[in-house]
Subunit: 424 residues, 2 copies
């Protein structure tokens, strides 16, 4: 056991050192080089799809033998269409503007010094994920485009699939003359490798991104010794103000909850202004119920809609990720804000209101990464924000917040241009 552990420590240490070296070369890689690597990787994915599917078959067989759920096996399964989508995703990232080198701001000092704030890569990013093999390509490509080296640690369940996809990324890096260590995958299923990544590999990992279920994210958040971009859960709220437009209130509530119930931007709690409970509230609750949603509410809510179940205290802090919504009457926007402060997860909340003042109060006072007015919480997504792609959504306040796209995977430095200035 000791030998095995030491072996994993050595493997991970070597990965960290190689990633740091690669990151130094990547920091000044040309945009065309990075794009070429992504486009060649896409080509390789398409041409290697038989071997990727074969690798995937091995993972699926193991998953079935282990008695994994149908949902789990679906996340794991690749097919021609999914491989094509992964390849197209790489090309889409190649088409995005390169954030590195972009001048974020520039100013001149009275002494003539010209100061520029310029985007630079972050360094080395560790990505820890579970069963979805496509994360290998998506995360690897985003990190590369932002000039970062990445260490990928996929779930042991998708081990062969992820390795096969990773091999295509390596082909792309080689074709572009970039270091193959720019995108490394942990070459062992030993769970001790995750523990090593969480230590930051002696300063060779700058940030960790967990992609997966709540238990994975919770472990990374509590044990990581380096910064983490993550959200533990998305307990998203829709608040229907008394000034809400009934058609918007109904359409947005149903969309926010029911369009896709398994994503982090799905609404989990509906807050209704008490003064419009009998009218707007009843209408929205009935629409939700008719769409197939189970409502768990307070007595007030049960009085409005007979099918509602009784909510318990626990419901207000539950992320259902299912066709269930908790519902409650509140006394105006201030009460809604107080409820969200108490039970929310700082992810995404929306107010439905025609009263601009109520909307402004909500947008200013709700402390979430994304606050919306008259829009569905399901828009909480890097692609919908126009960022092109995202590696996840962050609910922390440090560095990245909200969708984590290319820009959030960068740092910056100051470039100062002088003409011989000395400080008096």
């Amino acid at each position: 056991m000791t030998d095995k552990r030491d072996n994993v420590t050595d493997i991970m240490k070597a990965l960290g050192e190689k990633a740091r070296l690669a990151s130094r070369l990547l920091a000044t890689a040309q945009t065309v080089q990075k794009n070429l690597a992504l486009k060649e990787a896409a080509k390789s994915l398409r041409s290697q799809s038989p071997s990727i599917l074969e690798a995937n078959t091995r993972d699926i067989a193991k998953g079935e033998a282990d008695g994994m759920s149908k949902a789990f096996l679906d996340r794991l399964t690749l097919n021609e269409a999914r491989i094509e989508a992964i390849a197209a995703g790489l090309e889409a990232i190649a088409a995005l503007p390169d954030p590195v080198g972009k001048i974020m701001s520039r100013w001149e000092r009275p002494n003539g010094l010209q100061i520029e704030r310029v985007r630079t890569p972050l360094g080395v990013i560790g990505v820890i994920y579970e069963s979805r093999p496509n994360v290998t390509a998506d995360a690897g490509a985003l990190c590369l485009k932002a000039g970062n080296a990445v260490i990928l640690r996929g779930g042991s369940d998708s081990y062969h699939s992820s390795r096969a996809i990773h091999a295509c990324l390596t082909v792309g890096l080689e074709a572009a003359g970039l270091p193959v260590d720019a995108i490394q995958i942990v070459p062992t299923t030993d769970r001790a490798a995750v523990g090593e990544l969480l230590t930051g590999l002696s300063g060779n990992v700058d940030v960790l991104v967990p992609r997966g279920g709540k238990s994975l994210v919770a472990r990374v958040q509590s044990e990581a010794r380096v910064p983490v971009f993550s959200h533990l859960e998305g307990i998203c709220h829709v608040y229907i103000d008394k000034s809400a437009d009934p058609a918007k209130a109904e359409a947005i509530s149903v969309n926010a909850k029911m369009r896709r119930t398994g994503i982090c931007g799905a609404a989990e709690t509906l807050l209704i202004d008490r003064s419009v409970a009998e009218t707007l509230g009843k209408q929205v609750l009935e629409a939700l119920s008719k769409s197939g949603c189970t409502i768990r509410g307070t007595d007030d809510i049960q009085a409005l809609i007979a099918s509602a179940e009784k909510a318990t205290e626990e419901d207000w802090s539950t992320e259902y990720l299912d066709t269930i919504i908790s519902a409650k009457l509140v006394d105006g926007v201030g009460d809604a804000i107080a409820h969200i402060a108490k039970y929310g997860s700082n992810h995404t909340e929306s107010i439905i209101a025609e009263d601009i003042e109520a909307a402004e109060t909500f947008l200013n006072k709700v402390d979430s990464a994304i606050v919306m007015h008259n829009a569905s919480t399901q828009f909480a997504d890097g692609g919908e924000f126009g960022m092109g792609a995202e590696i996840g959504i962050a609910t922390g306040r440090m560095h990245a917040r909200g969708p984590v796209g290319l820009e959030q995977l960068t740092s910056f430095k100051y470039r100062v241009h002088g003409t011989g200035q000395i400080r008096p």
Copy 2:
């Protein structure tokens, strides 16, 4: 002992909880309120200067009794002029633009959603400092202006002075109707309080800023369980390219090293392009020597200037903070960059060159928070950058890098304005 430790834990826990509550109120405090608090605190400092000086006398007496050094006692000592400077500093921060609520960027999506990225406070900041009592006011004021609550933990040596200054800040907060818990000072000299702060007080501290010597910063960096804005040291380099203008090379080298030797932006190593060693190199070394600087160099350097001492390997990674500079010949800009990558501290480096291509290569490839061309490294300062004031300089890549001013003490959120959009 156990009782005492538990007591400190309880005290710190309560501080954290009160800071978090105050931060929620501060997040939406009006600019005029925050400015009023700062201006009233400045007034209070001036009117209370006798009691502040009296408190300071007690700290100095203890320092003298403990046999503290002259430099230490100087940092600790307050007088009328220093109190006036602290008060004026508060007024200067009041005069700075409020970063909170500033729209950083704004764009519209094809579906009509208007997305804004808006500055918000970070939350709760912990500041751990040593003997300079003025940090109490400077750090407290910067955190407040950026809408953050702050927990100040000054050194036990400046305990009474810091408490007296803190009392004036409290007067300001009260006058402005802001929560007094916005700026709290740790009410004990027990060193266990620092350990508690480093844990992040159960999520009630968002970032730590250490202000002091290397051992303090090293401890905070290694033990903190929350993000830290800091630099361990400033091993700043000046590289003299073969294309350098002789007058600029001489003036900048002497200024970068000798203007003030004790600041983190002071140059510690001079790198000279070998091809101009006999001309430019010799001239600059002689000028440095004449200005009173001891040179520690390689054999090459000793051959150029007789007074040079022999440098050891350790010199290249030593922050002298004194009238000493290490010096070495390098083979052009690439070699200079390699030396800096190996021995630097990612703080501030400057190239002296008329060759724009060499300068661009240096600015792009040197991985430091601040890279300069034809300017003195002593400009590495928030005030000199036009940020108004800084709480320190960060050499990490996460969130803040370089001078940490008001903007770097903020986070952001996304405000999305819709007209009823639902996600297809």
